[in-house]
Symmetry: C2
């Protein structure tokens, strides 16, 4: 009897639908006979908001919560549309889900695939994972402004950091480091300036680290990390960092590896009190939407993270191998989004069989 | 009769003294007969703090304030020394001076010098300037913590942004853009998450920009900027951004160009109510200190920024040309800090004569 996976699917805006279709194609190819994938589509995103005024209702939330996992393509409409100003969709949908479903681990792996290359002349062997905190820091929406639109305007943004929130993500990062050959953890912060938050992170890493004597630990300021990521990215294994620093350095990590078209992410609730959510790091790219120009690989790799999360490391490995084979095989001929999906789906089904 | 320049010199810690010595060598070579440089040495930094317990006294401040400009090498001792934990020197000295002397423009130019190269395989023509705000944002030291060292600890950091503070630095950036051939300004923030601060920055750029119809403007989120800086850094001309984002992206900018050993900065008080301060972006690098291993070029280029700031663009240009000639001429033989300084000083004196 095969395991059931109740999957909420948010195809979203722009290139979201196209890449999700291919990700699902690969999921079905690899799941066939192994995993009974039951999909529920959710039409959420800029399009629905512009049509109905709703971003995410209580009913949407309750329905989403009844699933084992969420697959999300990308959300966000035309950035020049004044009705979508100020990141209203990103905050009302993406961030709201991360916070409401307590996605305290935002997992973002980076690998340089020999065949794809890197904008770096000599990247070396790059294979690291950023464990970005997902529910605290400057992302809490705890800011305000007075005297708006006057010469005396003051605007604040508060970064909120709790022992509870930091400890659980740090522990996750140490557990992850233990499962990797190099067993190395780098804490990234800006403790010489953000002393209170920085000190909490540093003390937490020291305290939790005492329980993981096999993991070596170092600390880097976020500014210095950008240098190492360009000059010697192979030095990193697991990086743990706050929500904002994680946002910044994972885009950089995507850029120095195969590009943001390959960067996958999992918004994890490791306690499984709510469904985890998997999404490519890239955005909705409205300028190229609907033209089969988008690379679905990041969405496909997000499915691999999803499979891993639901306990099917075997199927996740088949997807990853299929992606690697496809990347190794890329010629200069441009393929459509669906052609890439077809190729990976075929390879994934085959990869599963060879290890079964 | 030659102009007098009262220069406060903080050689500082680690490699600071070595690189400042060379920067002063170049300054004297180029100033000879043109500018009467009157130096006052200030022994400030980790060494003095460990010896006396003082970081920066009221007397120090008053004495520094009586100068036309400050040249600083680098401050900060051994990061493993518990007496120096938490960035006490960086905050008590560097940040204190930036705030007390109202250095609201932190100017950081980036150029890829053909001869030096870049870790990027194909950087293109890179020549941009980051105008980093220097007196606000998350750097204001407005954070705190309760229940420290308990499972209920909460630590906060507040980013403070004022119309006054944002408007003046944005105006500076537009003025700078007007003086450059491409006349392009990029605002960098994270307005889809930090909505209050982001909105203040965006509205300010729109309002001030209306007075500069010749300057084209765009906006990038800080995460996306790291991608562009790696994939297409030639697109940037002038970037204006907040204190923390500026800290992060200028280290990245240093890394994609000749490295942090070439990155100069000016902490400017454009109103001249207090002396401006010029320093290499790099730190004190205690591990290589005292061995004549440091590259003094960033300190020398900081002197060029200083000369420009005191109205001697002619002498600044001579220094820059000398640095460029020296970079073009670098063989694989390693030169000492002093040898590099000698070479640039000689070339600077010559460069001045040829244009005089
Ligand atoms: C869209 C935006 C709110 C989001 C973030 O800042 O987290 C995105 O950049 C990401 O990294 O997933
Ligand atoms: C030393 C540190 C406080 C400083 C900063 O964060 O501004 C440094 O990184 C810089 O960029 O000048």
């Amino acid at each position: 009897m095969s395991q059931t996976l109740k999957l909420a699917v948010i195809r979203g805006d722009g290139i979201g639908p196209e890449v999700v279709d291919e990700a699902l194609k690969v999921l079905h190819a690899v799941a066939d006979g192994e995993l009974d994938v039951q999909e529920t589509p959710f039409s959420l995103g800029a399009e629905r908001f512009l049509a109905t005024g709703d971003i995410l209702t209580e009913d949407d939330m309750a329905a989403l919560a009844a699933h084992d996992a969420i697959l999300l393509g990308a959300v966000g409409g035309d950035p020049r549309d004044p009705r979508l100003a100020g990141g209203i969709i990103e905050r009302g949908l993406l961030l709201k889900l991360r916070f409401a479903f307590d996605h305290y681990v935002n997992l973002r792996p980076t690998k340089v695939h020999a065949a794809v290359g890197s904008p770096l002349a000599d990247p070396g062997e790059v294979d690291f994972v950023v464990v970005r905190e997902g529910t605290e820091g400057p992302y809490v929406g705890n800011g305000g402004a007075i005297r708006v639109d006057t010469p005396h305007e003051i605007a604040t943004e508060v970064s909120l950091n709790t022992a509870h929130g930091v400890e659980r993500v740090v522990r996750y990062a140490f557990d992850l480091a233990m499962r990797r050959p190099r067993k190395h953890l780098t804490l990234v912060h800006k403790s010489n300036v953000l002393v209170h938050a920085g000190s909490l992170w540093q003390r937490t890493v020291a305290a939790v680290g005492a329980e993981y004597p096999d993991v070596t630990v170092d600390y880097q300021h976020v500014d210095a990390v950008t240098i190492h990521m360009v000059r010697e990215p192979s030095r990193f294994d697991v990086i743990v960092t706050d929500n904002l620093f994680g946002d910044i350095i994972t885009d950089l990590a995507g850029a120095i590896s195969g590009g943001i078209g390959l960067a996958a992410s999992g918004n994890l609730n490791p306690d499984a009190t709510f469904p985890s959510m998997f999404e490519p790091v890239h955005g909705s790219a409205p300028d190229i939407a609907g033209q089969q120009l988008a690379d679905p690989t990041a969405a496909v790799l997000s499915v691999a993270l999803l499979l891993d999360h639901v306990g099917r490391a075997d199927l996740a490995a088949a997807v990853t191998r299929a992606v690697e084979a496809d990347l190794a095989d890329r010629s200069t001929t441009r393929r459509s989004t669906a052609q890439i999906g077809d190729a990976i789906a075929g390879a994934a089904a085959a990869a599963r069989t060879t290890t079964a």
